[in-house]
Amino acid sequence: MSKKNLLTFKFSRKLYDHNCIVSAMQEFGGMNNFYVVGSRDFLEISTERFDQRIFFEFVNYALFLTIQAK
């Protein structure tokens, strides 16, 4: 799988709660393949481009859970 076909989002750990991102991944994991790279400041999550809409739903859901956790 080439990197060209991947849609990537870097979730800042300052803005998104780690557990909320994981919960969102669990929710959308059945419909999507996630590729995750973690670092100290970011959680980099990628998916194949053809699943874009679901991926954006996932991004929104991660934000929603983060706000609710506050």
């Binding site: 989002f9 870097k10 800042s12 300052k14 803005l15 998104y16 954006f56 739903e57 991004v59 929104n60 934000l63 929603f64 983060t66 706000i67 506050k70």
Partner: protein
Amino acid sequence: MKIAIDQKNNAIIFSVNTKIYSKDVVYKACYVFIDKMYIFLNVSDKKEVLLVTLKGKESLSKKEIEKLEGEFMNELLNSLVRENVSKRNQKVLEQIVGGAMGAALGIGDLKVGNIDEKKNSTNVVIDEQEIEATIAALRKELEEIDSGGDFKFDEPVYNKKNKSKK
């Protein structure tokens, strides 16, 4: 504030100064719009700057995308004002709730934070004058006994007192 419209992706990216709009205010604004559009937050290279990406759920024209951004900025301001007002009224609110709670518990006016303290202090109501009067009456009774006078068993002093009160 930098704005970049990505019409191909149906999205707009702009920065928000966190010195003016705190992170919580941005979250509140995001929460309002989370059903209408896709929102992604990111940190910027600059300190105190947040990058917000808004993406329409359906394909939008350039004007509509700009409108999204305008509405979001208005909501940011709305959230900011609401937070400022709630901060300003927080003490008044606490006093009102404290007063209401105190009245409900029969404790009187309460300041938030010392409810338990006040409760404990009022559990035992001590009337000092009444105690002193009782002690004086008991002493008098003892003196009568010591003086060898005819002692008749009388009702206890506290019973008399209660009767006289009634």
